[in-house]
Symmetry: C2
Subunit: 356 residues, 2 copies
DNA sequence: TTGTACGCGTTATCAT
DNA sequence: ATGATAACGCGTACAA
């Protein structure tokens, strides 16, 4: 076959694959109804008799029809796209959130666009405004710390753009949100350490501009008070959820005259850092010092010893958010009650009874 | 204000925000040209005088116009969406790939949809076919091991759907692909260990159905041969890139009569597992045994000692893929030459000169 | 170089 | 319960 013919042939094939345009007219013809009726069936409108409904449905199945999103969007002024905004969370955490959102998007026939953000960027609100405009996003899911980005939220409120927040600090807005019971879980973890006989329990705090950072500290304090143990400020070190901040905090905690016998790091990265420092100082874990984390990140299983930590319902948080958001978009539902999901303790090797 | 009025008012606001419809007609009016001319400017067509072009451009800027994707898609039969398929890679790796693709999508005004897959699923090809149909994606980026999923690729070829592959094994297809120089990098890592005086160097293999798995083994062997060291089958253990497989492989290697003095694990998870086993066996790293990984995963910095590993140009692989794909889609460009990107050794604490 | 008329596939409006 | 017609905003074909 000569080159020219070959090219022409390939173009025909391209055209053929593109031309596979089954529209609602084809379905209507096959089912002997009007296009509008097909549309009614697709959109599950009420006023369709059961008979015609099944008729149309079988025609759709027979032709393998699926609606053209562009046409639908053009008409309805909806994109069927929601945006997921995140900043600086651990990769595994972000992936879990993505999976949770996707699971709902698939059911609802929405698409998700993801958007890594920089919370400290001056232009964040503008950047997102541009995203919304360009991609014509129907709604947004905000994860911490963006859940509390004032300028962005003000913009969304002004423009009446739907959004749902994951674990926000400011809960006075009318937009709905979901969160985990970090406070209780942190208290449970502290209870766990106390039950092992520890009375000197250090904590490495996370970033307090995250709700999780605040709540985990609150849970720690609650537990100590309940057990009538003092809250010793020497045992409280500020971190920011990063490994590096964990290193310096752990160093301060463990090089005191009377170091704590157990350390609760507010996430697994800081716990990993604590373990490293302990090893460097020649301390055995958990014989000399117990270490606990939070998040159940992959690294918690890769450390030696494996890390006692808290599992969070991350995928569930995300899927619930997506569910709320899509309901808002489609049904103009107003604010719904905040949704609280439960964490679970994961006891591994890094915590043990205190050495007598 | 009574409730009904309040509701009506809110609806008006909603309408107002929705009605913010600046179209090419508005731009055309402002610039005193025809809509078609505006379209020409937007699409950078040639036949527009510089004068009218700048005129239109300033009108666009003044009105803050951006084209309606749905209308454009409906007309051009393009979605301006590309899909990114991945399965079971490490979260940090996937996030890097996403960021790389996004960076190009932003420039080209494309959207990305992500799709976690299960390579072993019977219905993978069908699922992706459904995705393509529903979301009307213009093209796909396949990451390992999906890069070599025969059924899926056959489908894409048949339907003439554009795709680009990252690190595929089968390179005989005409579709373009990008890859990293894993083989050379693995050889360099082995060279590094040899230069430290090691002659008994174990390797924990990755999944050989990934190109990376094959290439890293090849590099290891090449390096040994170059140094005229024997390839000892006792020192080669099969793994599958998972932490667990690393544990059992490391155990086998390190409990031999004459264990290797250095172990090259084909990724960081397996290296982390090796470190754990070494610790458990009472071996010091790197004094008793050197350990090296591959990927420069976050965990490599969180271990103690920190892990010597290989950094891969993951974001670059992704952005190059996206670039190739978008060019294919927009310009009907045919296959381009394979693109090879370079890895880099990252020497940290887990490798050291052999103990005399 | 620039403009006019039409159609992409769907849903909304209004009618029956 | 169902159908006819118009319109969403853009790009193509064709004309000027």
């Amino acid at each position: 076959m000569c080159a020219v013919l070959k090219y022409a042939y390939s173009q025909i094939l391209v055209e053929c694959s593109r031309l596979k345009k089954i529209t609602i007219y084809d379905v209507a013809k096959k089912a002997s109804v009007s296009p509008k009726t097909v549309s009614r069936v697709i959109n599950a409108e009420q006023s369709v008799s059961t008979k015609t409904k099944t008729l149309v449905e079988s025609a759709i199945a027979a032709l393998g029809y699926s609606p053209n999103t562009s046409a639908r969007s053009l008409r309805t002024k909806r994109s069927y796209i929601l945006a997921f905004l995140y900043d600086n969370l651990s990769p595994a955490y972000v992936m879990d959130l993505q999976v949770g959102i996707l699971s709902i998007c698939d059911k609802a026939e929405f698409n998700m666009v993801i958007r890594p953000c920089n919370f400290t960027s001056e232009t964040l609100a503008q950047d997102i405004a541009a995203l919304i405009k360009r991609s014509r996003v129907d709604g947004l899911i905000l994860s911490p710390p963006i859940s509390d980005h004032k300028e962005l939220i003000q913009y969304l409120e002004e423009k009446q753009i739907d959004y749902v927040r994951i674990a926000p600090i400011n809960t006075k807005l009318k937009s709905s949100y979901v969160f985990a019971n970090d406070r209780e879980a942190a208290a449970e973890m502290t209870d766990h350490l106390i039950s092992l006989g520890h009375t000197s329990i250090g904590i490495i705090l996370g970033d307090l501009s995250h709700l999780a950072g605040q709540e985990r500290l609150a849970g720690y304090k609650n537990s100590l008070k309940k057990a009538e143990l003092p809250v010793n400020s020497n045992y409280i070190e500020q971190g920011d959820f990063s490994f590096e901040s964990g290193e310096s905090a752990a160093l301060k905690l463990l090089t005191q005259k009377q170091p704590p016998t157990a350390i609760f790091a507010c996430n697994d990265y800081m716990a990993a850092a604590t373990m490293k420092i302990a090893h460097k100082l020649g301390l055995r874990v958990p014989e000399d010092v117990s270490i606990a984390g939070f998040d159940d990140a992959p690294v918690s299983k890769y450390l030696w010893p494996t890390l006692t930590t808290v599992w969070q319902p991350v995928q569930q948080l995300a899927s619930q958010s997506a569910d709320l958001l899509i309901n808002k978009i489609l049904n103009q539902e107003t604010s719904t009650a905040p949704l609280e999901l439960r964490c679970e303790l994961v006891i591994r090797e890094s915590t043990a009874a205190i050495k007598k």
